[in-house]
């Protein structure tokens, strides 16, 4: 009786099987890699292409226009102002989130009754969608019906009508409060995990060595949690650089463009002014800046082995 293999050239069947065997791992991950490239790389490349064209609401000719959009970036002062706003938010919110998160984590390091319930409650803000959190804070900050003015009124003993989302003196604090409220728990959670992994024998050894608590904290605990802390700072730093939801929900970048971050600016340019190609250039500028920052930060934080 004839077998199937007898019809084929044995050598060829052998080599085909060998190829599949040798490259089995690549063949199995190929579909996933392809999908990731499609949804990850394609928009990036497409944005780059768009940024070199001239697509907007006014023009009929959308053909290739060289570096025109990039030249426009440097002439647009609103862009650089929004970049400044972004840096202000980051520079204020990041240390506050780190400090508060660290403080809370140290507090929760001790064994407390009901600790897990408290931790779960504290982490709730982070689980909320940022745009929803922004909307909630908008209601809380409402000048007439918001509970915040109400409570301040009780304390002050007279009605308080602070225009949190309009008054130039209060918009930054309002956005920062909402931002810190939502993201401090993230820092807290990560630092708590870091702190619980600090070898207690090391702090005990330092204690016996005669070090006061601040020295143990500074010389033993911080270096021990540094890798975790650095990652948390990096993640939050990048998030803050792209700050959008809370600002958009609370002030839409206003009053005027006073609280406009780079993301809000890009959104306005892209989806309100429909300066599509110019927005592509903004997006690429942000990508380049973030890439430089991340590479520099990773080096500085010594997270990458030299």
């Amino acid at each position: 009786m004839d077998t199937l293999g007898a019809h084929r050239s044995p050598a060829k069947a052998f080599s085909a099987g060998r190829f599949a065997d040798k490259n089995f791992k690549y063949l199995t991950i190929a579909p996933a890699v392809f999908l990731i490239l499609l949804i990850g790389l394609f928009p990036l490349v497409y944005t780059l292409m768009v940024s070199f064209q001239n697509i907007n609401m006014m023009e009929v000719d959308t053909s290739f226009s060289g570096l025109m959009n990039y030249e426009m970036l440097f002439e647009e002062s609103r862009l650089w102002l929004s970049l400044g706003h972004t840096l202000i938010f980051t520079a204020i919110a990041l240390p506050i989130e780190l400090g508060l998160g660290l403080l809370m984590a140290l507090l929760f390091l001790e064994r407390l009754p009901g600790k897990q319930i408290f931790v779960a409650l504290l982490v709730l803000p982070t689980m909320m969608s940022p745009i929803v959190a922004g909307a909630v804070w908008r209601l809380l900050f409402d000048n007439r019906y918001g509970p915040i003015n109400q409570i301040l009124g009780w304390i002050a003993g007279e009605p308080v009508t602070i225009l949190w989302t309009i008054n130039p003196d209060f918009v930054y604090p309002a956005i920062l409060i909402a931002e810190v409220w939502q993201w401090t728990p993230f820092m807290f959670l990560i630092l708590l995990a870091g702190l619980s992994n600090v070898d207690s024998a090391q702090t005990e050894a330092a204690e016996i060595d005669g070090a006061p608590y601040w020295l143990i904290f500074y010389k033993i605990i911080i270096p021990a949690i540094w890798p975790v802390m650095a990652i948390a700072l990096l993640i939050r730093g990048l998030d803050l650089f792209r700050l959008f939801d809370v600002v958009y929900a609370l002030t839409q970048g206003g009053p005027g463009t006073m609280t406009e971050t780079i993301s809000v600016y890009a959104y306005v340019q892209g989806f309100k002014q429909f300066e599509t190609s110019f927005t592509g250039a903004i997006a690429f500028l942000v990508i380049i800046m973030l890439t430089v920052i991340v590479i520099y930060a990773l080096k500085k934080m010594e997270l990458v082995e030299k």
């Binding site: 024998a201 090391q202 005990e204 050894a205 330092a206 204690e207 060595d209 070090a211 010389k219 270096p223």
Partner: protein, 366 residues
């Protein structure tokens, strides 16, 4: 230099009574070893002395000064931890210097002390290394260096050798003992390894279930244990415990085994047990006190026993042979070529001078 006096010490972890009334007095310059099975409270006792654990009741005094509520850093002691607890991001030099810097020692003095300690411990060439670049034994030495550099009055060791391999452990045992001879400070050393305790201690404090079972010089505990636990804990292989009875034959007290054999007690122990006759006992004898009968000399108090060896464990210099008395396996320490294999019939000599008799109910040596 420090004398440690502990009176009526109690420590609870929730409902667990970890240390149950410890009284201990360790004179200045002594090398004391706290030993016992895991969970016996020895580490808790050490950590209480260090100030890393608070105590529920009792007093800890160092040089007559009550230290119960004193912070660890004010007690002026040094400690070596089981996992070394080196600071991973500091090099060897900084690790050793940390305690001096914390205590604001002048820089020149720090340098001299660190260099001296490094020389003493053979760490001179490793001062720039990070802990993770060191071997286990080197890390151990850095941990010891960190302790000795500080001129503390009391040195605590919490199972410092248990993470090392056997050969290194032997070596470090000697080094720590030599260190003690050189600096002559009070050492308090915790281990679960009875050989470590025997070889290093001036005084062994043997603990079980939060209390001290017996304390004293190693040989005293080894030769004159007060109860079955102490007798069984020290020595390797451990002491044989054979259920038996005290009987009187012709006015002489003997030990009678389950198989009916009787071994006469030596002359000088006769009077002590004369009144105890006709009672159940546990007969305790160490393997090294059972040897092969060579028929030449019959020493006083050495009795003959006819055995059939059913298991042979050669170790090179010695061979341990196991035989059964009734259902109880008994180990005898034989010379390397005394026994060929399992099933050998062998006449053995039991040194009754070294045997101990234990009350089976209280487990106290009678």
């Amino acid at each position: 230099m420090a004398r440690i006096t502990i009176t009526g010490l109690h420590k609870y972890y929730g409902n667990h009574h970890a240390v149950r009334g410890i009284d201990l007095d360790i004179p200045e310059g002594e090398f004391a070893v706290l030993v016992g099975p895991s969970g016996c409270g020895k580490s808790t006792l050490l950590r209480s002395i260090a100030g890393l654990e608070s105590v529920n009741d009792g007093a800890i005094e160092i040089d007559g000064e009550l230290v119960n509520d004193m912070r660890p850093r004010d007690r002026n002691l040094a400690m070596v931890f089981q996992n070394y607890a080196l600071y991973p991001h500091m090099n060897v030099y900084e690790n050793i210097a940390f305690g001096l810097r914390a205590r604001k020692t002048p820089a020149g003095e720090i340098d001299k002390k660190v260099t001296d300690a490094a020389a003493l411990l053979n760490l001179d060439l490793l001062l720039d290394r990070l802990p993770r670049q060191l071997s286990g034994g080197q890390r151990q030495r850095v941990a010891i260096g960190r302790a000795i550099v500080r001129d503390a009055r009391l040195f605590l060791f919490d199972e410092p050798l248990s993470n090392l391999d056997a050969q290194l452990r032997d070596e470090m045992r000697g080094e720590i003992k030599r260190l003690h001879q050189e600096i002559r400070k009070t050492f308090l050393y915790v281990t679960h390894d009875q050989i470590e305790a025997m070889t290093m201690a001036d005084r062994i404090v043997l603990m079980r279930d939060g209390i001290i079972e017996q304390q004293g010089p190693p040989l005293e505990l080894f030769e004159k244990p007060t109860n079955k636990f102490v007798a069984g804990f020290l020595g390797s292989p451990s002491m044989n415990f054979i259920p038996s009875a005290l009987v009187t034959e012709d006015g002489k007290v003997s030990v009678k085994f389950e198989d009916g054999t009787t071994l006469l007690l030596p002359e000088d122990r006769q009077s002590k047990y004369a009144s105890q006759a006709e009672r159940q006992i546990i007969f305790g004898i160490r393997p090294e006190h059972i040897s092969r009968a060579d028929g030449s000399d019959e020493r006083v108090g050495v009795e003959k026993y006819q055995s059939v060896i059913d298991l042979v464990l050669p170790t090179g210099s010695r061979t341990y042979g196991t035989f059964h008395i009734g259902r109880t396996p008994v180990v005898a320490e034989l010379q390397a070529h005394d026994v060929k294999g399992a099933g050998t019939a062998l006449a053995l000599l039991v040194d009754m001078n070294r045997a101990i008799l234990i009350d089976p109910d209280t487990e106290i040596v009678i």
